[in-house]
């Protein structure tokens, strides 16, 4: 019997999907406050899962040359270089001499227009330069990518007041996964670990999941035609191993484990950070009462989600599904009635 919350609300997804011997729900907690942007996760994922190359060019988006999660990038490390907004956090260079921020609006605007053939569809669409120019507090170009850390070549006096956000993004393995719900072939399925996986021998590339995902994660591989995304290393989980990205992460920014445990750990970490004077630390996707019923892969962020390219309040499309079918039913009845009236309601 499906749960009353099958379409929306808090839920344990694996038993709801029919697993009688469901395992504890597993997931990721990605703590971006310790991420150093080394991209070991991106590489480890590609290696383990045999994901094809995702193009090679410099996008001008700081060190981010991956651009987005695509069918060929199942982990994506986002980089944001910005002047630290005043009053927002402890100034990173308090007490040090700093120069006026270098102009960087143009950098972000150019970065919004770069493209890379990721070998996927829609892959990495270009952005809106106007929106890019408005990245929080105006983005700052630090001369990155470069061969030296920012400020080393120019000397202390030229250093600017900036922050550097890094975040390893991944499929959220939603409690209510829109991709899975709308898949017409049953290719996407819920595993006994509560994760969401595409079966590549079933997917026929209809593309419905791609428009349905509220996070813009799943994507279609060109030539191959099928949809691909993070499997949370289903094969490794089955063998009792840690997913490749979490295994490779040198700072334990990516933590893997039973979701309950991760949520506790995350709450403690946020409390610690707040105590230490990082009031902007916030959890994202941890709340089982949010629009997707909570994410299996959730995050600790240091700014609003949209700064990292995440939707601030995603809602699974199935929340409105009963209403939608009702509306369609009404429209169908109206249509039938109109046809009947057209034939019986006149003389000619």
């Amino acid at each position: 019997m499906p749960d009353a919350n099958s379409l929306y609300g808090p839920l344990d997804p694996a038993p709801d999907a029919g697993w009688t011997d469901a395992r504890p729900r597993m997931g990721f907690f990605t703590d971006t406050s310790v991420c150093i942007g080394c991209k070991a996760c991106e590489v480890a994922c590609k290696e383990w899962n045999d994901v094809p190359g995702s193009g090679l060019d410099l996008l001008g988006m700081s060190y981010d040359n991956t651009g987005a999660l695509t069918a060929n990038s199942w982990r994506h490390v986002a980089f944001v270089e910005q002047p630290a907004p005043a009053g927002h956090r402890t100034p990173p260079f308090a007490g040090y001499p700093t120069a006026a921020p270098a102009s960087a609006t143009s950098a972000a605007v150019v970065a919004a227009g770069t493209a890379d053939d990721t070998g996927t569809e829609p892959g990495l669409p270009t952005g809106d330069p106007v929106a890019a120019a408005r990245m929080a507090a105006g983005p700052e170009f630090l001369g990155m990518p470069g061969s030296q850390p920012p400020g080393r070549a120019t000397g202390v006096a030229e250093r600017t007041d900036f922050r550097w956000l890094m975040m390893s993004d991944v499929c959220k393995h939603c409690t209510h996964a829109a991709c899975l719900d709308v898949c017409p072939t049953g290719s996407l399925f819920r595993t006994e670990f509560g994760t969401v996986v595409v079966q590549e021998d079933i997917c026929n590339g209809c593309g419905y999941c791609i428009s349905a995902c509220p996070y813009g994660v799943i994507d279609q591989r060109k030539g191959d035609g099928r949809a691909w995304k993070c499997t949370l290393c289903y094969d490794r989980l089955g063998a009792g191993n840690t997913p490749a990205c979490a295994q490779a992460c040198p700072t334990e920014s990516i933590m893997y484990g039973p979701l309950d445990e991760l949520r506790e750990r995350a709450a403690q970490r946020v409390a610690t950070l707040h105590e230490r004077g990082v009031p902007e630390a916030q959890l994202y996707g941890h709340d089982p009462t949010d629009g997707v019923g909570g994410d299996g892969a959730f995050f600790l962020l240091l700014d609003a989600p949209e700064v990292y390219g995440l939707p601030p309040d995603p809602v699974v499309t199935t929340r409105d599904l009963p209403q939608m079918w009702k509306r369609a039913g009404l429209a169908a009845l109206t249509m039938a009635a109109a046809a009947v009236v057209a034939f019986v309601g006149g003389s000619s």
Partner: protein, 387 residues
């Protein structure tokens, strides 16, 4: 690396070049980077975007009830290099075309069933044939759009109410063969009077009657589920339009079916087609007016750019088609022209709705701003709930 790739870092060198050209003040006005996908590329960044991009240029943009534009909240928001949050639909134009052909098949089979039950053979014949042609085209478009067309039958592995595409597959599985059989039985009069084929000549018409009625019974579902198909996504302007999309599509299907009737039937049989055209046009116009004005910021994609032009064209063509159908009662030519106008209107409306949604997924504004607004409203309500 594949041999036809430009040298690595090429784009970055150009990027540095542009930065130098922009000068230390970062003034962009002198040297705008090429931004091919953005119509408002001539605006100075940082300057708040107050109105919809197209409305500045097209002074008549708010012709119908211009006051509603005040509902559009100022689009101040943060994003990650302006990149879209969502993945825009990968569906190519095939799906927009299918929206039309699927609706046409549904509308025509209703017309055919009406003709069959009320003794209007011209309507019946035209409706059945149009329905078969349209449903065949639909099947082609749907299969052609798949990433793996040879695996189209994987759709038949499951039946899922949560997947409008799965529901649609099953609707088409019933409708398609029924419409096909109904159309094929129209060939009965060409069979010889005697022999085995003569038997067919007598048996086919009743089979056609049954098949035609089955097709007509499924037709309203076929015409309206596509509204749920589009709304059942994260695409902002489609999802939020879920109350109207099925109505628009039902109206558009009726109008296109009526178009077939007006084209094919002699004046004395075309009365029902004229009334169907009026009903369909009313539903379609009401629905598209609503999506163009009710959704606040998310109505913007339906009013601007290509989708805006398509929807306006659809409206004009619908009005012309209905007017022609009513005025041209006695003229075969005028009726035929109205039929063509109604069909063209349906095409324009479907492509307009389709591309409006795609545009809303391409711009992070339409994802972030309404969601921020939702958070703000929720937070404003919270104390009231607790107190």
């Amino acid at each position: 690396m594949s041999p036809h790739r430009p040298p690595v870092g090429d784009r970055f060198r150009r990027f540095l070049g542009r930065l130098d050209a922009a000068g230390p003040a970062g003034g962009l006005s002198a040297d705008r980077p090429a931004a091919p996908h953005t119509p408002e590329g001539d605006r100075t960044p940082g300057q708040p975007r107050s109105a919809a991009p197209g409305e500045r240029r097209r002074r008549g943009g708010g012709r119908r009830g211009g006051g509603e534009q005040l509902n559009v909240p100022p689009a101040e928001f943060t994003s990650y290099y302006g990149r879209p949050v969502l993945k825009p639909p990968v569906w190519k134009w095939d799906i927009a075309a299918y929206l039309f052909t699927g609706g046409l098949a549904a509308g025509s089979s209703l017309l055919a069933a009406g003709g069959q039950l009320t003794g209007r053979p011209a309507l019946r014949r035209a409706g059945r044939i149009a329905s078969l042609v349209a449903v065949s085209a639909s099947a082609y478009f749907l299969v052609n759009d798949l990433g793996r067309p040879a695996r189209f039958h994987h759709m038949l592995r499951v039946a899922k109410l949560t997947s409008p595409m799965s529901v649609g597959t099953w609707i088409l599985t019933v409708f398609g063969p029924a419409a096909g059989v109904a159309a094929v039985t129209e060939a009965a009069p060409w069979l010889p009077e005697r022999g085995v084929l003569g038997l067919g000549r007598r048996l086919l018409p009743p089979v056609g009657q049954a098949a035609g009625l089955l097709a007509a019974a499924t037709a309203p579902a076929l015409a309206t589920y596509t509204g749920v198909l589009l709304a059942g996504t994260a695409v902002p302007s489609w999802h939020e339009a879920y109350p109207e999309l099925p109505i628009i599509f039902a109206g558009s299907a009726l109008a296109s079916g009526a178009g077939v009737g007006l084209l094919a039937a002699p004046g004395d049989q075309a009365g029902p087609a004229r009334r169907m055209a009026v009903a369909g046009a009313a539903l379609e116009l009401w629905g598209s007016h609503r999506v163009e004005h009710r959704l606040g910021l998310l109505s913007e994609p339906y009013r601007t750019g290509t989708p805006g032009r398509l929807l306006r064209a659809g409206r004009v063509l619908t009005a012309a088609g209905v007017a022609g159908a009513l005025v041209g009662r006695r003229s075969r030519v005028l009726s035929g022209l109205s039929g063509v106008a109604l069909l063209a209107a349906s095409v324009a409306t479907r492509f307009g709705i389709f591309h409006g949604g795609v545009a809303s997924a391409r711009d992070p504004k339409y994802t972030v701003v309404p969601q921020r607004e939702r958070i703000r409203r929720r937070e404003a309500e919270r104390p009231a709930v607790e107190g």
